[in-house]
Amino acid sequence: MSTSPAKPGGPVLTADGTPLKTSLERSLKLSKLRALGLIFPPLVFLIILFVIPIGSLLTRSIDDGLSNKVLPKTLAAFERWDKTSEPDESMFEALVLDMKAADKLDLSKLGTRMNYEKSGWRSLLKITARGLTRIDGPPYKPAMLQLNTRWGDIEFWRSLGAMKDPVTLGYYLKAVDLKYDGNKNIMKVKKHNRIYQMLWWRTFLVSMIVTIGCLILAYPVAHLLATMPLRLSNLLMICVLMPFWTSLLVRIVSWMVMLQQNGVVNDSLVSLGMLHDENRLSMMYNFTGTVIVMTQILLPFMILPIYSVMKTIPSSYMKAAQNLGATPALAFIRVYMPQTIPGVGAGCILVFIVAIGYYITPELVGGKDGRLIGNLIAHHMQNSLNWGLAAAMGTILLVAILTLYWVYDKLVGVDNMKMG
């Protein structure tokens, strides 16, 4: 008789007497904890330095608290106003009191903010702030009108409507050429000033052309690489990977040297007599330049996924199809191509995602009509300092990309991503 008989129907015990189920659960829990322990430091690092910063983009894009902070009385008076009659003394009084109480710095920042809604606010606030010391008692309206006649312009007053709430969708509207009017109705911006819809469209178009271009160029090369003897294909693979490993700026410089007006390509064509000196092609600093350079830069992202799928397709399938009477072309289209769809899909999504957020390349080679939405984001971040608008455009772009990323994950799985 053994000392610890396993009763039939009772729990299975391990050597130390605990039920196997509990023991397994404990060991599973432990292994989960251990895994999480390993993941924890990089995860926290990523959340603090990447996820939170990108989250701060979101808050920037809807924050409009400054006007409420600086002009509370004025905005309250604005609510009582009928928006059509001339502003009365009470509104001027509220404005003067607000401006007198305001921090000088806030007022200057507010001027910048209000100028987005209507050009002229910046100088109007500045002139008024300077002359405010000379206004010391009611009635305020005549004194203000004397200070600057623009205070009689009802359009300035109306534009306050777009800024009255501390949270605004105004920047998002602006990012698609819309805006609020004084009553917070959404309307289109002036025809001459519509640039964002066009830029979104152009960004989409460039990304599409680049994706299709890459696909057309990548497919035969991937096929060649996948069907060649290994030793040779390894050598050619270096041609594919080398641009991938070379600095982006170097590649851009190279293309500038190649494609500019008196660059290598034009020079060669002229000296070969294929082109007249005065008809040199303009392939740089425009839409064409952007497309050519982006296609070359993103081509490896298309070749690699297609190649890795093609490598797994046995050549016997094609032979079988041909034995069954299909012409090589038919066999290729009906048997081979459908099997490459996963690679093609992965490559296309990857190239499209990367292309849509491009900034450096179009900035350097885009010229007049090859600049994309990323360039406008940078412009508003660094030059115009309209950070709210930059954040809103960034958020829209981010949502588009994350959606595609999600699709990519569903189709391919991010953990199947391989490098090199």
Partner: protein, 361 residues
């Protein structure tokens, strides 16, 4: 909130630790690149006996200054800034106010502020230079009559061929209106009306199909030299440098040039503010202001400096007279437009949008 502030504190500590040992006894002077920066190094830097100067390039704009000031981690001392940024920056408290009495007066005793060609917009600034946007072409491009006015630049029938223009609207709006017959002193008045802007764009439409756009300062010279365009707009200093230093046969069209101010400022909370101010006193003295024109044809902001150059020609280091290349000499001023930074501060954003839309139509 709690978590956020904890993170903030932690990170700040990390940064503080990282910053230890970054002791500085040098003045960081931030300016533009190219020959312009070289001229400043020659005229202001090489003649300066004080702390070591670090010359740093930037691409303009207030973004970097604003973050430095707001975060309290200021690393820049002196910055070379454009007129619009000078005004916004001073209003927003990004610059130190400078004691006007510390600057060197003109030889005749006129105070520095009385000696500048344009009145100082605020007490943050120290005088620097005037530069301009102007049209130019290469000698021998046109047979017979030569272009001589800005109206000729916009006239593609009289002077056929492509035109090189920049990818932002500054100066172009003013030039278009002047070319369309608006008197110089009425230009900004007209630009304050919607009709005036429409008029400017209608004029720009006339060269739209002949325009080649540039964004880097060296490009227009290249465009004209290679024959890609017959005329172009450029920074006057670039045209001058090509003529004076490289012997190119480029002809500037002074008519309708748009003059832009350039000022020096000291960043608020600059690590070496005292040395920076001393450096500015040195750099803005008439002698140094004039010395800059030995190396590049930008107009000194101080009148006494211009007089100094006039009296001592040939002034340019290569031994030629520099005055014929000065954008601020008396003969060309009546047909020059002084850019109005106040207008651009108000309407610049809106006009940029419209210009971008126009450009890519």
């Amino acid at each position: 909130m709690m978590r956020n502030s904890l993170i903030t504190t932690l990170l700040s500590t990390v940064v503080a630790v990282g910053m230890i040992g970054a002791a500085q006894a040098e003045v960081n002077v931030v300016t533009w690149g190219g020959a312009y920066a070289v001229s400043q190094q020659k005229a202001y830097g090489d003649t300066w006996k004080g702390e070591k100067i670090n010359w740093i390039n930037y691409n303009g704009g207030l973004g970097e200054i604003r973050t430095q000031v707001e975060s309290g981690a200021v690393t820049w001392d002196v910055v070379d800034v454009l007129p619009a940024q000078v005004r916004t920056g001073c209003d927003e408290g990004l610059f130190e106010t400078l004691d006007r009495s510390m600057f060197v007066p003109a030889p005749d005793g006129t105070s520095m502020d009385e000696d500048t060609m344009n009145k100082a917009p605020n007490n943050c600034v120290a005088p620097n230079i005037f530069w301009s946007y102007l049209a130019f072409y290469e000698e021998g491009t046109f047979k017979g009559e030569q272009p001589s006015t800005i109206a000729d630049f916009f006239d593609v029938e009289k002077f056929p061929g492509k035109r090189g223009i920049h990818t932002w609207p500054n100066a172009l709006i003013e030039m278009a209106l002047l070319a369309d017959g608006v008197p110089i002193d009425k230009i900004y008045e007209v630009m304050r009306t919607d009709k005036g802007i429409d008029r400017a764009f209608a004029k720009l439409d006339q060269i739209k199909d002949h325009a080649v756009f540039w964004s880097a300062g060296s490009k227009p010279i290249e465009l004209v030299k290679s024959g890609e365009t017959v005329m172009a707009l450029a920074y006057n200093g670039r045209v001058g440098a090509a003529v004076l230093n490289e012997g190119e046969k480029l002809v500037p069209i002074w008519d309708g040039q748009v003059l832009e101010e350039e000022w020096w400022v000291v960043v608020k909370g600059a690590p070496n503010a005292e040395a920076a101010k001393k450096f500015l006193v040195h750099a803005t003295a008439p002698q140094q202001q004039a010395a800059q024109a030995k190396w590049i044809n930008y107009g000194p902001m101080r009148k006494s400096a211009l007089n100094l150059i006039k009296a001592n020609e040939p002034w340019h280091h290569s031994g030629v007279n520099i005055m014929p290349y000065m954008p601020t000499r008396e003969e060309v001023l009546p047909r020059s437009i002084f850019a109005d930074p106040a207008w651009w501060a108000d309407y610049g954003g809106e006009i940029s949008e419209r210009y971008t839309a126009w450009m890519s139509q």
